[in-house]
Symmetry: C3
Subunit: 345 residues, 3 copies
């Protein structure tokens, strides 16, 4: 890919030679000849003599000298991500392996079916989809075009997955939600878990993440949501569009996370909570059942606005001093009482 | 299923027409003709005109008007769960797929063996059991009658699973426990992990949950216990009968959870702790190694009784006011000292 | 194995009869004839009449009477672990199952390939390696000698695993890291995740643990590191040699854990943090992004030295008393003011 073509792709302004061939991307400290890299902020730039890349994407206000052609753009990291996607497209396999099991009344147009994949009855898989080895696709499942189901994923019956989704290995979509009714000394009777899961387009779901089916209704993951590894999404949860959820977070049943929220890692949310659009919740935070979390940055268990959390943490750190002060005050008062008594007698 | 038959099943009293056919269950806002639903408490009931169900299960003290036949029972949710189990029984497949591998000296009577399942030597599987595609059953494993092992589960060698269990996809039963002995600068020597796992009858284990084998003895999950997704059960743990453990909780080695405990999500327990029968531990709580947690409701890290936890949280929130008060007191004392000095001279 | 041979293996001094045959290991309360056990500290020893083992390993300063031959060593648990490894070696299978898929241009010398294993192009697997049923080995993967890849593991393309490693079931090595660039209202563009994972020799990785590939560089797990179940290792993380990480801990991108650290369970670490060699971090602790954690014992969120953590916890517990004291002081001051006013008039 020629530098001038890349500049066009990046929507940026090219400075320097434009005809060199770029064959890959790399981090700025590692990039060699033939590779393009990026610098997000000028203050983080290495010295010019350390830069061996053949082209660098920089912010518009970048002024330091560079030893190679460079492209000025508004958001270098975004431009770099776009270019990387062109230079290193994900591998698109196109064949059907020998040892697979596809139910007869299914409609499987997928570009690639890996070894030992099994696909159930009445399931449809769109064109360009990639089903990697050992993936288990249940009955009456729908998978859209160009979606990638990685090795050993399990998609339970009746689940629907949109176009251009990526489901990483070991993810389990549509297992029964966790709902029981206590029956006295007999223990628990399972509440019906007969709903479904709907995953909209452009969703990425991490390795070994679990998305449970709705008890009676559906669990829904909105368009463009990005969910990391080992996340738990309970039954009837609704995750909005473009929501980001980091690793090991758990969302209990029927909780709603509205569009464009960002949820850190190891966050826990009780059931029937609502996280309003645009809220940001820090790692390891805890949201109590039924809570409404408004727009803004939230931290701690139970969650509170980041400012309050910091202030409170500072206060807690200051308790020791407070104790000392109270001790001192008590001494002063004792002295004052003594003195006043002395005067009285 | 006729309404009068359902009323009998629910052990309730039927009001209204009794001959209509019910074909499914649904939530009260969604239920349509032919469907039955339930209302847990009268105050949560929708208006009569919004109810489209053909039958509703209600508590005995329910008095609001209903536009359809209704059944009064003591515990509507429990009755509903029981009826749902009849109307929507889990799919019971009955065949052996073409591409499976069963060791010759095993005793496999299971009703269903899915595609690409492998079963090791000397393993026995009871009648009515369902082994879904890609499940891995090791050697010398025992699985009881009517148990369901979902797709891509892994059961290591020598594990025993009872009757009527459900093990969800990706669960790993019997991997080595996490035990090492430090050998100076050489690093770690593995402590033997040669025990086993025993899962009693009627246990449900969630997707991607891990139950490690005992180091020398056994790890045991008691009858009727219900364990959610992504839970970690360490080596030699004993989980009692009818214990409920929510998602992402981790139980360290040799800890004992007695019968009928309820453990929230993301709870962490150190090793060799004991949770006494009937204890309830809130989400994200932490139990220190060796601790004994008595009956009652517990919260926080380290766990404390819920009342104390709440009081302490309130106190922490009040530190700021306390600081202000101390500041004010100091001013007052300074004024008093000044005044008394003035009087002296 | 004769007792005198075991004493030699343990590097200890044998007291009592030396010719008996030992066939297995067991815990001290469970060990029967023919079995060897160990006692870590004399104060934890059962009464002599309760010991049924044929041989016991004890510390050098052990003095209580024993009813059987015993071996004195410096570290009984370590000696016991070494002997157990000899008496109960992990099962070494040696055959290739019938239903497997190995790409033609791979170099697979593994001793055992289980049922329904798939191995991609240009992949090499060393001698003595064991690939258990349903494991998925991608393209251009390298696995060293005598490593064991348990059932249904997934090793993505281009990952490198050393000699004598154990990867437990359901672990996913090399899935894409979690990195996106926001593109305004359009949502997120995936940052390239085209690096790799390098796992050095003698590493053990727990069931359902995820180790993400580097974004541009590598994620590296150092020699002899031991990682428990359900752990998340983000992209570009570097885990040092002989590091121990307990279950359900999550390490965010680019964080470095230096050699010989011990990390408890359910710990969360932000990105770009550094944990210096020899640090010990308690369970459920939280390390903020970019933090440097020095040698020593750390606890809490955000992490603080264990001493400080304990002191602070004690202070928080004491707030209530502090409040009472302040109340009392206010009363005293009010009385003093009253009295002084009385005197004035």
């Amino acid at each position: 890919m020629r530098i001038n073509f890349i500049a066009e792709l990046a929507g940026g302004k090219l400075f320097g030679e434009s005809e060199s061939e770029i064959v890959g991307v790399a981090a700025i400290e590692k990039a060699r000849e033939g590779e393009i890299s990026f610098i997000e902020r000028e203050k983080n730039a290495p010295n010019a003599e350390e830069i061996k890349a053949s082209c660098v994407i920089v912010p518009e206000n970048f002024e330091a000298p560079l030893p190679c052609p460079f492209i000025k753009v508004k958001n270098p990291k975004l431009a770099f991500a776009r270019i990387a996607a062109e230079l290193h497209p994900p591998k698109r396999r196109a064949n059907r392996s020998a040892n697979i099991s596809i139910a007869k009344d299914s409609d499987v147009r997928a570009a690639f079916i890996g070894e030992f994949v099994s696909i159930g009855e009445r399931t449809s898989i769109g064109e360009g989809a990639q089903i990697l080895p050992g993936a288990r696709i249940g009955e009456n499942v729908s998978i859209g075009e160009n979606s990638v189901i990685h090795s050993n994923c399990v998609i339970y019956d009746n689940v629907s997955i949109g176009d251009n989704c990526i489901i990483h290995s070991g993810a389990v979509i549509g297992a029964d939600g966790f709902g029981y009714v206590r029956d006295g000394a007999n223990g628990y009777v399972k509440f019906p878990q007969i709903g479904t899961v709907v995953i909209e387009d452009d969703v990425e779901i991490g390795a070994n993440t679990c998305v449970d089916r709705g008890a009676l209704g559906e669990t829904r993951i909105g368009r463009g949501a990005k969910i990391d590894n080992l996340v738990q999404i309970g039954h009837n949860v609704r995750v909005g569009a473009r929501v980001v959820i980091a690793s090991q977070t758990g969302i209990s049943g029927s909780t709603v996370i509205e569009d464009d929220c960002v949820i850190g890692g190891q966050v826990g949310m009780g059931d029937h909570a609502t996280v309003k659009s645009g809220a940001i919740i820090g790692s390891q935070a805890g949201v109590l059942p039924g809570k409404i979390v408004r727009e803004g940055v939230w931290w701690g268990t139970p969650v509170q606005p980041l400012d309050e959390y910091k202030r409170q943490n500072a206060h807690v750190k200051g308790i020791n001093r407070l104790k000392e002060e109270v001790k001192e005050i008590k001494k002063q008062i004792a002295r004052m009482i003594n003195r006043s008594e002395e005067k009285e007698y």
